[in-house]
Protein backbone atom coordinates (compact mmCIF):
# COMPACT_ATOMS: atom_id res chain seq x y z
CA UNK A 1 0.00 0.00 0.00
CA UNK A 2 2.93 2.29 0.64
CA UNK A 3 4.39 4.11 -2.31
CA UNK A 4 7.55 6.20 -2.54
CA UNK A 5 6.12 9.61 -1.77
CA UNK A 6 4.23 8.25 1.21
CA UNK A 7 7.39 6.54 2.42
CA UNK A 8 9.17 9.86 2.18
CA UNK A 9 6.43 11.37 4.34
CA UNK A 10 6.94 8.65 6.90
CA UNK A 11 10.66 9.26 6.83
CA UNK A 12 10.11 12.96 7.33
CA UNK A 13 7.88 12.13 10.27
CA UNK A 14 10.55 9.90 11.82
CA UNK A 15 13.11 12.64 11.23
CA UNK A 16 10.89 15.08 13.08
CA UNK A 17 10.60 17.20 9.93
CA UNK A 18 6.82 17.25 9.53
CA UNK A 19 4.63 20.10 10.66
CA UNK A 20 2.88 19.19 13.93
CA UNK A 21 -0.55 18.87 12.30
CA UNK A 22 0.78 16.52 9.61
CA UNK A 23 2.71 14.57 12.20
CA UNK A 24 -0.43 14.02 14.27
CA UNK A 25 -2.30 12.84 11.23
CA UNK A 26 0.45 10.43 10.35
CA UNK A 27 0.64 9.17 13.91
CA UNK A 28 -3.05 8.37 13.81
CA UNK A 29 -2.57 6.50 10.56
CA UNK A 30 0.40 4.58 11.94
CA UNK A 31 -1.65 3.40 14.88
CA UNK A 32 -3.99 1.50 12.59
CA UNK A 33 -1.97 0.61 9.50
CA UNK A 34 -0.01 -2.58 9.96
CA UNK A 35 2.04 -2.05 6.86
CA UNK A 36 3.16 1.44 7.75
CA UNK A 37 3.93 0.33 11.29
CA UNK A 38 6.17 -2.36 9.85
CA UNK A 39 7.82 0.19 7.60
CA UNK A 40 8.46 2.40 10.61
CA UNK A 41 9.99 -0.46 12.58
CA UNK A 42 12.32 -1.33 9.74
CA UNK A 43 13.45 2.25 9.53
CA UNK A 44 14.14 2.32 13.24
CA UNK A 45 16.22 -0.81 12.89
CA UNK A 46 18.13 0.74 10.02
CA UNK A 47 18.76 3.87 12.02
CA UNK A 48 20.12 1.81 14.88
CA UNK A 49 22.27 -0.24 12.52
CA UNK A 50 23.77 2.87 10.95
CA UNK A 51 24.50 4.21 14.38
CA UNK A 52 26.20 1.01 15.40
CA UNK A 53 28.06 0.29 12.20
CA UNK A 54 28.85 3.49 10.35
CA UNK A 55 31.01 5.65 12.62
CA UNK A 56 31.57 9.37 12.55
CA UNK A 57 35.27 9.98 12.16
CA UNK A 58 37.90 12.13 13.75
CA UNK A 59 40.14 14.21 11.53
CA UNK A 60 43.71 12.89 11.83
CA UNK A 61 46.00 15.16 13.86
CA UNK A 62 48.32 15.47 10.88
CA UNK A 63 45.46 16.82 8.78
CA UNK A 64 44.67 19.42 11.41
CA UNK A 65 48.25 20.57 11.35
CA UNK A 66 48.32 20.62 7.54
CA UNK A 67 45.17 22.71 7.43
CA UNK A 68 46.51 25.20 9.93
CA UNK A 69 49.78 25.45 8.06
CA UNK A 70 48.08 25.78 4.68
CA UNK A 71 45.69 28.40 6.00
CA UNK A 72 48.56 30.40 7.39
CA UNK A 73 50.65 30.08 4.23
CA UNK A 74 47.79 30.96 1.88
CA UNK A 75 47.33 34.27 3.61
CA UNK A 76 51.00 35.07 3.67
CA UNK A 77 50.80 35.09 7.40
CA UNK A 78 53.38 33.28 9.39
CA UNK A 79 51.84 30.37 11.22
CA UNK A 80 49.60 31.70 13.86
CA UNK A 81 51.45 32.02 17.12
CA UNK A 82 50.72 29.40 19.69
CA UNK A 83 48.32 31.53 21.61
CA UNK A 84 46.02 31.30 18.62
CA UNK A 85 46.29 27.57 18.61
CA UNK A 86 42.57 27.14 18.83
CA UNK A 87 42.76 23.41 18.76
CA UNK A 88 44.68 23.40 21.99
CA UNK A 89 42.06 25.55 23.65
CA UNK A 90 38.95 23.96 22.25
CA UNK A 91 39.82 20.38 22.96
CA UNK A 92 40.03 20.67 26.75
CA UNK A 93 36.97 22.90 26.67
CA UNK A 94 35.03 20.29 24.80
CA UNK A 95 36.21 17.60 27.16
CA UNK A 96 35.29 19.75 30.14
CA UNK A 97 31.86 20.41 28.68
CA UNK A 98 31.18 16.75 28.14
CA UNK A 99 32.35 15.97 31.65
CA UNK A 100 29.86 18.46 32.99
CA UNK A 101 27.13 16.73 31.03
CA UNK A 102 28.14 13.35 32.36
CA UNK A 103 28.33 14.72 35.86
CA UNK A 104 24.85 16.24 35.59
CA UNK A 105 23.48 13.03 34.20
CA UNK A 106 24.87 10.81 36.85
CA UNK A 107 24.79 12.82 40.03
CA UNK A 108 21.93 10.77 41.37
CA UNK A 109 23.92 7.73 40.57
CA UNK A 110 26.75 8.97 42.72
CA UNK A 111 24.35 9.39 45.63
CA UNK A 112 23.21 5.82 45.52
CA UNK A 113 26.00 3.88 43.96
CA UNK A 114 25.26 0.28 44.82
CA UNK A 115 25.12 -3.17 43.35
CA UNK A 116 22.54 -1.55 41.10
CA UNK A 117 25.49 -0.29 39.09
CA UNK A 118 26.25 -3.68 37.59
CA UNK A 119 22.58 -4.13 36.91
CA UNK A 120 22.46 -0.80 35.07
CA UNK A 121 25.38 -1.93 32.94
CA UNK A 122 23.56 -5.19 32.22
CA UNK A 123 20.49 -3.27 31.14
CA UNK A 124 22.48 -0.96 28.92
CA UNK A 125 24.30 -3.88 27.30
CA UNK A 126 20.97 -5.56 26.59
CA UNK A 127 19.66 -2.35 25.10
CA UNK A 128 22.64 -1.96 22.79
CA UNK A 129 22.52 -5.62 21.83
CA UNK A 130 18.85 -5.25 20.94
CA UNK A 131 19.79 -2.52 18.45
CA UNK A 132 21.79 -4.96 16.36
CA UNK A 133 19.97 -6.10 13.25
CA UNK A 134 17.43 -8.79 13.94
CA UNK A 135 17.72 -8.57 17.72
CA UNK A 136 15.08 -6.03 18.55
CA UNK A 137 11.94 -8.07 18.86
CA UNK A 138 10.91 -11.73 19.13
CA UNK A 139 7.29 -10.80 18.70
CA UNK A 140 6.72 -7.94 16.32
CA UNK A 141 3.37 -6.36 16.96
CA UNK A 142 1.90 -3.06 17.92
CA UNK A 143 -1.04 -4.87 19.47
CA UNK A 144 -0.74 -5.27 23.22
CA UNK A 145 -3.16 -8.20 23.05
CA UNK A 146 -0.69 -10.03 20.83
CA UNK A 147 2.41 -9.14 22.75
CA UNK A 148 1.16 -9.96 26.23
CA UNK A 149 0.04 -13.55 25.54
CA UNK A 150 3.27 -14.17 23.64
CA UNK A 151 5.08 -14.21 26.99
CA UNK A 152 2.83 -16.99 28.30
CA UNK A 153 4.86 -20.10 28.91
CA UNK A 154 8.06 -18.20 28.24
CA UNK A 155 8.16 -16.44 31.58
CA UNK A 156 6.90 -17.26 35.04
CA UNK A 157 4.98 -13.99 35.12
CA UNK A 158 2.69 -12.16 32.77
CA UNK A 159 4.00 -8.63 32.27
CA UNK A 160 1.54 -5.76 31.88
CA UNK A 161 1.72 -4.47 28.31
CA UNK A 162 0.32 -1.12 27.22
CA UNK A 163 0.26 0.71 23.95
CA UNK A 164 0.81 4.45 23.95
CA UNK A 165 0.64 5.07 20.22
CA UNK A 166 -2.07 7.65 20.88
CA UNK A 167 0.52 9.57 22.86
CA UNK A 168 3.28 9.18 20.31
CA UNK A 169 5.01 6.20 21.93
CA UNK A 170 3.82 3.22 19.87
CA UNK A 171 4.42 -0.30 21.06
CA UNK A 172 6.68 -2.05 18.54
CA UNK A 173 6.94 -5.51 20.05
CA UNK A 174 8.52 -7.58 22.78
CA UNK A 175 11.27 -10.05 23.37
CA UNK A 176 12.75 -12.31 25.97
CA UNK A 177 15.92 -11.01 27.56
CA UNK A 178 18.26 -12.14 30.29
CA UNK A 179 19.09 -9.69 33.05
CA UNK A 180 20.13 -9.99 36.66
CA UNK A 181 20.42 -13.75 36.39
CA UNK A 182 16.89 -14.33 35.16
CA UNK A 183 14.73 -14.26 32.07
CA UNK A 184 12.80 -11.04 31.83
CA UNK A 185 10.32 -9.37 29.53
CA UNK A 186 11.63 -6.57 27.33
CA UNK A 187 9.04 -4.36 25.66
CA UNK A 188 10.04 -2.13 22.80
CA UNK A 189 8.49 1.25 22.18
CA UNK A 190 9.27 3.89 19.60
CA UNK A 191 9.38 7.65 19.69
CA UNK A 192 10.02 9.10 16.23
CA UNK A 193 13.40 7.62 15.28
CA UNK A 194 14.26 6.63 18.86
CA UNK A 195 13.82 3.23 20.42
CA UNK A 196 12.90 2.64 24.02
CA UNK A 197 13.48 -0.65 25.80
CA UNK A 198 11.41 -1.39 28.89
CA UNK A 199 12.65 -4.21 31.11
CA UNK A 200 10.42 -5.42 33.87
CA UNK A 201 10.27 -8.30 36.27
CA UNK A 202 8.47 -9.05 39.50
CA UNK A 203 9.96 -8.09 42.81
CA UNK A 204 9.22 -9.34 46.25
CA UNK A 205 6.53 -7.08 47.65
CA UNK A 206 8.09 -3.99 49.10
CA UNK A 207 7.49 -0.28 49.12
CA UNK A 208 7.50 1.34 45.68
CA UNK A 209 10.73 3.17 44.89
CA UNK A 210 10.73 6.58 43.29
CA UNK A 211 12.36 6.93 39.87
CA UNK A 212 16.08 7.47 39.56
CA UNK A 213 17.91 8.33 36.39
CA UNK A 214 21.41 7.85 35.15
CA UNK A 215 23.24 8.41 31.90
CA UNK A 216 25.81 6.16 30.30
CA UNK A 217 27.42 6.54 26.89
CA UNK A 218 24.68 8.87 25.74
CA UNK A 219 21.86 6.58 26.85
CA UNK A 220 19.50 7.46 29.64
CA UNK A 221 18.31 4.87 32.09
CA UNK A 222 15.31 5.30 34.33
CA UNK A 223 14.60 2.92 37.13
CA UNK A 224 11.72 2.60 39.53
CA UNK A 225 9.72 -0.07 41.26
CA UNK A 226 6.03 -0.50 41.77
CA UNK A 227 4.68 -2.77 44.48
CA UNK A 228 4.94 -5.68 42.07
CA UNK A 229 7.47 -4.94 39.38
CA UNK A 230 10.85 -3.44 39.04
CA UNK A 231 11.15 -1.30 35.93
CA UNK A 232 14.15 -0.25 33.87
CA UNK A 233 13.66 2.02 30.89
CA UNK A 234 16.54 2.81 28.56
CA UNK A 235 16.82 4.91 25.41
CA UNK A 236 18.82 7.54 23.59
CA UNK A 237 15.71 9.70 23.73
CA UNK A 238 16.15 13.01 25.59
CA UNK A 239 15.61 12.77 29.32
CA UNK A 240 12.47 14.98 29.47
CA UNK A 241 10.64 12.87 26.90
CA UNK A 242 11.83 9.65 28.46
CA UNK A 243 10.50 10.97 31.73
CA UNK A 244 7.12 11.62 30.08
CA UNK A 245 7.09 8.08 28.81
CA UNK A 246 7.93 6.68 32.23
CA UNK A 247 5.09 8.77 33.60
CA UNK A 248 2.66 7.21 31.12
CA UNK A 249 3.80 3.73 32.12
CA UNK A 250 3.45 4.42 35.81
CA UNK A 251 0.06 5.98 35.25
CA UNK A 252 -1.18 3.03 33.19
CA UNK A 253 0.11 0.70 35.89
CA UNK A 254 -1.72 2.37 38.69
CA UNK A 255 -4.85 2.69 36.54
CA UNK A 256 -4.75 -1.05 35.91
CA UNK A 257 -4.67 -1.58 39.63
CA UNK A 258 -1.99 -3.54 41.37
CA UNK A 259 -1.79 -6.84 39.53
CA UNK A 260 -1.78 -9.93 41.66
Amino acid sequence: MTHPSFEAQLDAYLDDELAPADARELEAHLAQCQECARFRNERLELRAAIRAQVPTLEAPAALRERVRAAVGAARGVARAPRRFAVRGVWRPLAVAASLVVVALGSWRLALQRTAGETLAEDILTSHIRSLMPGHLTDVLSSDQHTVKPWFNGRLDYSPPVYDFSGRGYPLLGGRLDYVDGRSVAALVYGRRQHLINVFLWPVARRPAATPASRTHQGYHLLHWATADYTYWVVSDLGLPELGDFAGLLAQADSAAGAPK
Binding site: A12, T56, V77, H135
Partner: protein, 175 residues
Protein backbone atom coordinates in the same frame (compact mmCIF):
# COMPACT_ATOMS: atom_id res chain seq x y z
CA UNK B 1 44.06 38.73 6.46
CA UNK B 2 44.60 40.08 9.90
CA UNK B 3 45.83 37.55 12.32
CA UNK B 4 42.76 38.22 14.42
CA UNK B 5 40.64 37.31 11.40
CA UNK B 6 42.72 34.17 11.06
CA UNK B 7 42.05 33.41 14.67
CA UNK B 8 38.35 33.91 14.07
CA UNK B 9 38.51 31.52 11.14
CA UNK B 10 40.17 28.93 13.31
CA UNK B 11 37.66 29.44 16.07
CA UNK B 12 34.63 29.24 13.80
CA UNK B 13 35.68 26.64 11.25
CA UNK B 14 38.20 24.29 12.80
CA UNK B 15 35.82 22.90 15.43
CA UNK B 16 33.97 21.33 12.50
CA UNK B 17 37.00 19.63 11.06
CA UNK B 18 35.89 16.20 12.27
CA UNK B 19 32.51 16.68 10.60
CA UNK B 20 34.25 17.85 7.44
CA UNK B 21 36.56 14.86 7.45
CA UNK B 22 33.69 12.44 8.07
CA UNK B 23 31.75 13.78 5.11
CA UNK B 24 34.83 13.83 2.88
CA UNK B 25 35.76 10.29 3.84
CA UNK B 26 32.34 8.89 2.97
CA UNK B 27 32.11 10.88 -0.23
CA UNK B 28 35.58 9.98 -1.51
CA UNK B 29 35.59 6.52 0.07
CA UNK B 30 39.22 6.68 1.06
CA UNK B 31 41.24 8.42 3.76
CA UNK B 32 43.87 9.88 1.51
CA UNK B 33 41.49 11.65 -0.88
CA UNK B 34 39.43 12.73 2.11
CA UNK B 35 42.39 14.56 3.63
CA UNK B 36 43.11 16.33 0.36
CA UNK B 37 39.50 17.35 -0.02
CA UNK B 38 39.32 18.72 3.51
CA UNK B 39 42.49 20.70 3.06
CA UNK B 40 41.31 22.16 -0.27
CA UNK B 41 37.92 22.91 1.21
CA UNK B 42 39.45 24.75 4.16
CA UNK B 43 41.44 26.94 1.80
CA UNK B 44 38.32 27.73 -0.18
CA UNK B 45 36.48 28.39 3.03
CA UNK B 46 39.17 30.84 4.02
CA UNK B 47 38.76 32.65 0.73
CA UNK B 48 35.04 33.17 1.29
CA UNK B 49 35.30 33.53 5.01
CA UNK B 50 35.32 37.29 5.13
CA UNK B 51 31.85 37.15 3.60
CA UNK B 52 30.72 34.65 6.16
CA UNK B 53 29.35 36.25 9.26
CA UNK B 54 27.21 33.38 10.43
CA UNK B 55 24.12 35.10 9.09
CA UNK B 56 20.82 33.88 10.35
CA UNK B 57 20.08 30.32 9.43
CA UNK B 58 23.58 29.46 8.31
CA UNK B 59 25.53 27.47 10.80
CA UNK B 60 29.28 27.42 10.32
CA UNK B 61 29.03 23.67 10.25
CA UNK B 62 26.58 23.51 7.33
CA UNK B 63 28.54 26.24 5.58
CA UNK B 64 31.80 24.30 5.80
CA UNK B 65 30.12 21.02 4.86
CA UNK B 66 28.71 22.63 1.72
CA UNK B 67 32.23 23.62 0.68
CA UNK B 68 33.58 20.16 1.49
CA UNK B 69 30.78 18.61 -0.51
CA UNK B 70 31.41 20.77 -3.57
CA UNK B 71 35.14 20.21 -3.35
CA UNK B 72 34.66 16.44 -3.15
CA UNK B 73 32.28 16.39 -6.09
CA UNK B 74 34.45 18.51 -8.33
CA UNK B 75 37.62 16.59 -7.46
CA UNK B 76 35.82 13.38 -8.26
CA UNK B 77 34.87 14.70 -11.66
CA UNK B 78 38.42 15.85 -12.24
CA UNK B 79 40.02 12.62 -11.19
CA UNK B 80 37.57 10.14 -12.59
CA UNK B 81 35.64 11.86 -15.32
CA UNK B 82 34.19 8.59 -16.57
CA UNK B 83 32.93 7.34 -13.30
CA UNK B 84 29.20 7.22 -13.41
CA UNK B 85 26.98 6.66 -10.45
CA UNK B 86 27.82 3.42 -8.79
CA UNK B 87 24.71 1.43 -8.36
CA UNK B 88 24.10 -0.55 -5.25
CA UNK B 89 24.94 -4.16 -5.99
CA UNK B 90 22.74 -6.59 -4.14
CA UNK B 91 24.66 -9.66 -5.17
CA UNK B 92 27.69 -8.47 -3.23
CA UNK B 93 25.83 -8.54 0.04
CA UNK B 94 24.02 -11.81 0.13
CA UNK B 95 25.39 -14.60 2.23
CA UNK B 96 27.61 -12.38 4.34
CA UNK B 97 26.04 -13.26 7.65
CA UNK B 98 24.01 -16.36 8.21
CA UNK B 99 22.39 -16.81 11.57
CA UNK B 100 22.19 -14.30 14.39
CA UNK B 101 23.93 -16.22 17.14
CA UNK B 102 26.95 -16.73 19.39
CA UNK B 103 29.94 -15.30 17.54
CA UNK B 104 28.66 -11.82 18.23
CA UNK B 105 31.95 -10.02 17.69
CA UNK B 106 32.67 -11.78 14.46
CA UNK B 107 29.15 -11.23 13.31
CA UNK B 108 29.26 -7.61 14.23
CA UNK B 109 32.45 -7.08 12.31
CA UNK B 110 31.00 -8.78 9.27
CA UNK B 111 27.86 -6.69 9.57
CA UNK B 112 29.88 -3.55 10.03
CA UNK B 113 31.80 -4.16 6.88
CA UNK B 114 28.65 -5.00 5.09
CA UNK B 115 26.61 -1.91 5.92
CA UNK B 116 29.65 0.30 5.39
CA UNK B 117 30.16 -1.35 2.02
CA UNK B 118 26.52 -0.95 1.15
CA UNK B 119 26.85 2.75 1.90
CA UNK B 120 29.98 2.98 -0.25
CA UNK B 121 28.07 1.41 -3.09
CA UNK B 122 25.27 3.91 -3.07
CA UNK B 123 25.34 6.62 -5.70
CA UNK B 124 27.13 9.67 -4.25
CA UNK B 125 23.90 11.67 -4.26
CA UNK B 126 22.31 9.06 -2.00
CA UNK B 127 25.40 8.61 0.11
CA UNK B 128 25.66 12.28 0.91
CA UNK B 129 22.12 12.62 2.20
CA UNK B 130 22.60 9.59 4.46
CA UNK B 131 25.85 10.95 5.88
CA UNK B 132 24.50 14.49 6.29
CA UNK B 133 21.39 13.27 8.05
CA UNK B 134 22.43 10.21 10.01
CA UNK B 135 26.02 11.07 10.87
CA UNK B 136 26.10 14.87 10.81
CA UNK B 137 22.55 15.35 12.07
CA UNK B 138 21.65 18.19 9.70
CA UNK B 139 18.06 19.28 9.18
CA UNK B 140 16.41 18.82 5.78
CA UNK B 141 16.78 22.55 5.18
CA UNK B 142 20.50 22.44 5.93
CA UNK B 143 20.96 19.38 3.72
CA UNK B 144 19.14 21.20 0.95
CA UNK B 145 21.59 24.11 1.33
CA UNK B 146 24.60 21.84 1.38
CA UNK B 147 23.57 19.65 -1.56
CA UNK B 148 22.06 22.52 -3.51
CA UNK B 149 18.73 20.81 -4.15
CA UNK B 150 15.19 21.62 -2.96
CA UNK B 151 13.98 20.25 0.37
CA UNK B 152 11.51 17.99 -1.47
CA UNK B 153 14.39 16.36 -3.30
CA UNK B 154 16.27 15.87 -0.05
CA UNK B 155 13.23 14.15 1.36
CA UNK B 156 12.75 11.73 -1.53
CA UNK B 157 16.46 11.02 -1.94
CA UNK B 158 16.86 10.26 1.72
CA UNK B 159 13.92 7.92 1.64
CA UNK B 160 15.17 6.06 -1.40
CA UNK B 161 18.69 5.84 -0.01
CA UNK B 162 17.37 4.32 3.20
CA UNK B 163 15.32 1.77 1.33
CA UNK B 164 18.43 0.67 -0.51
CA UNK B 165 20.48 0.33 2.65
CA UNK B 166 17.65 -1.65 4.14
CA UNK B 167 17.77 -4.09 1.28
CA UNK B 168 21.41 -4.60 2.18
CA UNK B 169 20.57 -5.24 5.82
CA UNK B 170 17.85 -7.66 4.89
CA UNK B 171 20.11 -9.67 2.61
CA UNK B 172 22.54 -9.90 5.44
CA UNK B 173 19.92 -11.09 7.92
CA UNK B 174 18.67 -13.77 5.61
CA UNK B 175 22.15 -14.98 4.70
Amino acid sequence: MESSELARFEAVVLPHLDAAYTLARYLTRNEHDAEDVVQDACLRALKYFEGFRGEEGTSARAWLLAIVRNTAFSSRRRRRPDEGMLEFDEAQHSGAVADAHPEAALLRRAAKESLGRALDRLAPEFREVIVLRELEGLSYKEISDVAGVPVGTVMSRLSRARTRLQQALREEGEG
